[in-house]
């Protein structure tokens, strides 16, 4: 296994503002000294409560946010030291699926344009072969090819999410960071997407970081699970261990969620 992405003691804090004048009162530690490596063919799950820092960690991983401390390495090189061609190559290596599909798709680009664009940026396919590639991508995420000419706002929520997944897969990345990729999908389509990701890890040696609040989906897909809370990595262990011998009360709570009773205080 080759390490593709590695976070080394990364932290990210945001200014904390208060009062009507929004004076800076201090800082929100969204991610605090997290170290995590992701290798080829590996599926790593990241779970944690709302606001625990999962999306922030994902944005650090893809070089979208600059860490306030520590660094993230892509194939051994820090994101913020890459220049020109190296950076473009790294951008192709690491793809992501955002939590919020409406904001990640260009509202004026049709489905076909959204899927062709990365192919042309990275000069991967042109003409008829690009068209065939777009069709294959649509099929991968279970969308009919009749959707080619639709705009994002002409799709349902789950369809938009699937276009986001297809776009990330278009360039055959070595690593994929997915932020709640199946949250807006019903169980049947969700299960198919899980199956697709599983096959990519197994057959194409994709390195996958799968963020979800759904511990069931994570456990069925991932070999290792990381649990975050208040910006910190609470535990990181093989799935079997997390599920059978959770090391932290929060993890236990997640596991026992099905038993949580609405009428209990």
């Amino acid at each position: 296994m080759t390490v593709i992405l590695e976070a080394v003691h990364v932290s990210k804090s945001f200014p904390r503002r208060g009062g009507v004048l929004r004076r800076q009162l201090g800082a929100v530690q969204a991610v605090e000294r997290v170290s995590l490596a992701l290798g080829t063919g590996e599926s790593l799950g990241l779970v944690g409560e709302s606001g625990s820092g999962k999306t922030t960690l994902a944005k650090l991983f893809i070089g979208l946010l600059r860490p306030t401390e520590g660094e993230v390495l892509v194939r051994g090189a820090s994101w913020f030291r890459l220049r020109g061609g190296e950076r473009l190559a790294a951008r192709r290596t690491v793809q992501f699926v955002f939590q919020d599909p409406m904001n990640s798709l260009n509202p004026r680009m049709t489905v076909e344009e959204a899927l062709s664009e990365p192919l042309s940026i990275h000069r991967l396919a042109a003409g008829a072969s690009r068209r065939a590639r777009v069709d294959a991508l649509l099929e991968l995420v279970r969308l009919s090819t009749s959707y080619r000419r639709r705009l994002p706002r002409e799709l349902s929520g789950g369809e938009r999410q699937r276009v986001g997944i297809a776009r990330a897969l278009a360039v055959e990345p070595a690593a994929l960071i997915c932020d709640e990729p199946i949250a807006s999908l019903d169980v049947s389509v969700g299960a198919q997407i899980l199956e697709l990701l599983r096959a990519l890890c197994r057959e194409r040696r994709l390195a996958l970081l799968f963020i979800s609040h759904d511990l069931r989906a994570v456990a069925s897909l991932c070999r290792r699970i990381a649990v975050m809370r208040e910006g910190k990595l609470l535990e990181l262990a093989p799935t079997e261990q997390i599920v059978n011998r959770p090391g932290h009360p929060y993890t236990t709570l997640l596991l026992r969620s099905a038993e949580l009773d609405l009428d209990q205080a």
């Binding site: 409560e49 939590q99 369809e159 709640e180 019903d186």
Partner: protein, 269 residues
């Protein structure tokens, strides 16, 4: 039985595509929601759930053709004048849209947006509206609510934005809440807190809820009745227990079967 708060009769929605054939998203759907009732709509991605929700108060784009009859608290919304519709939107009927980030205003603080919803639809003004805003943020589980009031939407996480949308809809004290996938971004601990809040409001204020969710566990926890949509048609409608225990339609059975496929047992060999 009381008169329904919401009556939907023979609702159909089709979208006129550019170049392509019209998309028939909803076909002949009928159901009611009683005061204090939680009705869930479930179904596969793209089956027409959001289209139904938006059609209720004519929020669909102009490319959509809508037919049928919708009555909310006595008002025939598909025929009503634009201002009487505007008056019930955000008032009698509150929405939590499927895409929370897109439904918040990026240039107003969370507090400004909440206070606006409160002053527009309730008697509260000034400081008391401000207090209510803090209270609603607390009720949806936002910690340090008072301080967070001055944050902008982009400074909130996905799940926090989703909860703000719910707080805004509820703060206007609607009689009917239409919530389109309101808990997708929430982990179970927060999700249970939100469902508890909805149940409390449903019991104490007789809030009615049209809940759209693909999460059958959520549906099971809170809905009195469930409607199953498949390719735009309502293929099954009945009490939650009955629909989830003895599904009548093959599609419903399939939904339940898929749910059991995803288990805690690792399946990555």
């Amino acid at each position: 039985m009381s008169t329904p708060l919401l009556t939907v009769e023979n609702l159909s929605v089709s979208y006129q595509g550019r170049g392509e054939e019209a998309v028939r998203a909803v076909e002949g759907v009928s159901f009611t929601v009683e005061p204090g009732e939680v009705l869930a709509l479930v179904g596969e991605s793209g089956c027409g759930k959001t289209s139904v929700a938006l059609a209720l108060t004519r929020l669909l784009p102009s490319s959509a053709a809508v037919s049928g009859r919708v009555t909310i608290d006595g008002l025939n919304t598909l025929e009503a004048a634009a201002d009487s519709l505007r008056a019930i939107r955000g008032g009698t009927i509150g929405y939590v849209f499927q895409d929370p980030a897109a439904s918040l205003n990026p240039v107003l603080t969370i507090g400004e947006q909440l206070v606006e919803a409160i002053t527009l639809h309730t008697e509260a003004r000034g400081a008391s509206a401000g207090h209510l805003a803090v209270e609603w943020l607390q009720r949806v589980g936002i910690v340090s609510a008072e301080e967070r009031l001055h944050a902008y939407p982009h400074e909130f996480s996905g799940g926090m934005q989703q909860r703000v949308c719910l707080a805004m809809a509820l703060a206007a004290q609607p009689a009917l809440l239409v919530a389109d996938e309101p808990t997708t971004a929430l982990d179970v601990t927060v999700q249970v807190q939100i469902l508890r809040l909805l149940r409390d409001l449903q019991r104490s204020l007789r809030l009615s809820v049209l809940l759209i969710s693909h999460d059958l566990t959520v549906v099971e926890r809170i809905a009195h009745r469930v409607g199953v949509l498949s390719a735009g048609r309502l293929v099954e409608l009945g009490p939650t227990d009955q629909v989830l225990r003895q599904p009548q339609h093959p599609y419903t059975a399939q939904l339940l079967q898929y749910r059991n496929m995803i288990s805690l047992r690792p399946n990555h060999q």
